[in-house]
């Protein structure tokens, strides 16, 4: 019995110590570096530095690098299961876990949303920065003090428009918490744009597919529906929609089209398919071919370009980047809104960073606020819960 205990204890110790020892030996011999494990003794211990050290250990682990793909492939082959970030839907559709979680978990109006957070004192007011309304109100008021209007645009995630592709048993259209937010914002005097209605209407009318099957983003057709709704909303906010007289006096005599569009085919590899990290993913799923309309200058034929001096500043995330700086270029929502308004926009775009990072970047590029009449702040709805760096209050330059 004693022998068995010793054997088990030694086996356990060998497993516990064996992997780090093997890793350290590998780094010392193969990489010719001081093993990463010793870094923990030379960094100033803080929550962040220890997290980084821990992440580094996982990222560098030779054993994990070997085992992870094997396990992921095995789990997919045997169970059809994918990495924790992806959800398999119907008919080869894939969904991003956070997009789904956002719809299922308590919204910002529910006290459970604030579990584990604490209040902050800002300008004598006790607020919880987890609540996106705090940053939104602050940003609106700062802009208003400079005579600039704010238009808030939450972009629906894929499961809000295609819930039946997540699971065929979902009947009807489950309401996204964002619809309640839009209502709340309206009551608080915000200018908002509702993209749910036009996208659901386009879907009901049998329009082409509005979101990519294996990507978190919209197709060019979905994007164009949104661009049309947004251009219409911007024109509503600016009293003189047909000329540039209110937006840009210097352009008031320009009435002929400034831009033209030309269709081009694009092959998209889905970001959710990539996220699964399943080694055979490129064999399991294919590229999606879509047709995007590139916007170019009607006079010169050059692709659409922002104008930092424009009176409209666009803040956005990857929904503004796709087709715009990605292939084919100049065919994203910014170019299309510019096309519909017949004038260029200024923009700051940061993948996943629309909740706070774009406003931080605006802080560094204060010159972009010069001459602005309107800021259009777009963000994907899941960021209301999962926004990178939360919804921080940010000073303007």
């Amino acid at each position: 019995m004693r022998k068995l205990e010793w054997t088990l204890a030694i086996a356990l110790l060998a497993i516990v110590a064996g992997f780090p020892l093997f890793q350290a030996a590998h780094e010392a011999v193969v990489d010719k570096e001081i093993p990463h494990v010793f870094d923990v003794f030379r960094i100033a211990p803080s929550k962040e530095s220890l997290h980084r050290w821990d992440d580094n250990s996982k990222d560098r682990s030779v054993f994990a690098k070997w085992l992870r793909p094997v396990t992921l492939q095995f789990r997919y082959d045997m169970l059809g299961e994918m990495a924790p970030k992806s959800v398999k839907g119907e008919e080869d559709w894939l969904f991003y876990n956070q997009d789904v979680d956002y719809l299922l978990q308590p919204p910002y109006t529910d006290e459970r949303f604030y579990k584990g957070t604490f209040d902050t004192l800002i300008a004598g007011k006790r607020v919880n920065l987890r609540n996106p309304l705090v940053a939104m109100e602050d940003f609106r008021d700062r802009l208003k003090a400079r005579g600039i209007e704010l238009l808030l645009v939450p972009i629906p995630g894929k499961p809000s428009i295609y819930p039946e592709k997540l699971w065929h048993g979902i009947q009807g259209q489950p309401p996204s918490p964002t619809l309640a937010l839009l209502e709340d914002l309206r009551k608080r005097g915000f200018n908002v744009a509702n993209l749910f209605d036009p996208l659901l209407k386009a879907k009901a009318s049998g329009a082409s597919q509005l979101y990519l099957k294996r990507d978190t983003h919209w197709t060019p057709q979905g994007m164009e529906v949104a661009a049309e709704a947004l251009a219409g909303r911007i024109k509503e906010m600016i009293p003189d929609p047909d000329t540039a007289a209110v937006l840009e006096p210097r352009d008031s005599l320009v009435s002929k089209p400034r831009y033209m569009v030309k269709d081009t085919a694009v092959d998209r590899w889905g970001d959710i398919a990539e996220m699964t990290k399943v080694p055979d993913r490129k064999k399991i799923w294919s590229l999606e071919r879509v047709t995007a309309s590139q916007v170019s200058d009607a006079q010169t034929g050059k692709p659409y370009q922002d104008d930092p001096a424009s009176s409209i500043l666009w803040l956005g995330d990857s929904f503004s980047r796709i087709y715009q700086t990605d292939a084919p270029g100049s065919a994203g929502v910014i170019a299309h809104v510019a096309y519909l308004l017949n004038r260029p926009l200024a923009s700051i775009v940061n993948d996943g960073g629309a909740s706070t990072v774009v406003r931080q970047q605006l802080g560094r590029r204060g010159e972009l606020l010069k001459g602005k009449k309107l800021v259009v702040w777009t963000f994907v709805e899941r960021d209301l819960r999962f926004g990178s760096r939360g919804w921080q209050v940010q000073e303007l330059p």
Partner: protein, 164 residues
């Protein structure tokens, strides 16, 4: 007696750790003299860039996000040790590293041609040989940058070698 054995065992475990201890980071207040010494630089930069320098990684603000959904550049602060090409006069510099959770040599995507070197992971206190170009011209994607109050230009690390 038991406690003596335990102490001896603990000491035996700690000695190699202490022996391996690298130079302290600048913000620890205990930087060793050799930490400020420029590391050996190759005669010719491995890639073309506007600035070539050795610099000590002084600060990493926050933690690196996972590379689940987006590729990104993460801006870190370096203390400049020696500039071997180009003109740079500030004592520190803000450098954006592409997807810092991935070893430089393991980056095989469309940024492959713009990212090189032997750095496997980033730790405060490490001395790097850097070839840099302005970030704005090279990268239009996501930038994780906690130095948003600092208006100086950001640099993109075309090459990052860990100085031995």
């Amino acid at each position: 007696m038991d406690s003596m054995k335990k102490s001896a065992l603990l000491l035996a475990l700690l000695i190699p750790f202490a022996a391996c201890k690298e130079k302290a980071p600048a913000n620890s207040g205990a930087a060793s003299p050799e930490a400020n010494a420029p590391a050996a630089m190759p005669a010719k930069p491995p890639v073309e860039g506007e600035l070539v320098m050795t610099a000590r990684l002084e600060e990493i603000s926050g933690s690196f996000p996972a590379n689940d959904l987006y590729n990104y550049a993460y801006v870190m602060k370096y203390k400049v040790l020696q500039v071997s090409k180009g003109t740079y006069t500030d004592p520190d510099i803000l450098v954006g590293h592409y997807n810092p959770r991935i070893a430089r040599e393991d980056i095989k995507d469309e940024q492959d041609a713009k990212v090189g070197g032997n750095v496997k992971s980033f730790a405060v206190g490490d001395v790097h040989y850097l070839v840099l170009s302005p970030l704005d011209g090279l990268w239009t994607g996501s930038v994780e940058d906690d130095y948003f109050k600092d208006k100086r230009p950001r640099w993109w690390a075309l090459w990052a070698d860990k100085a031995k």
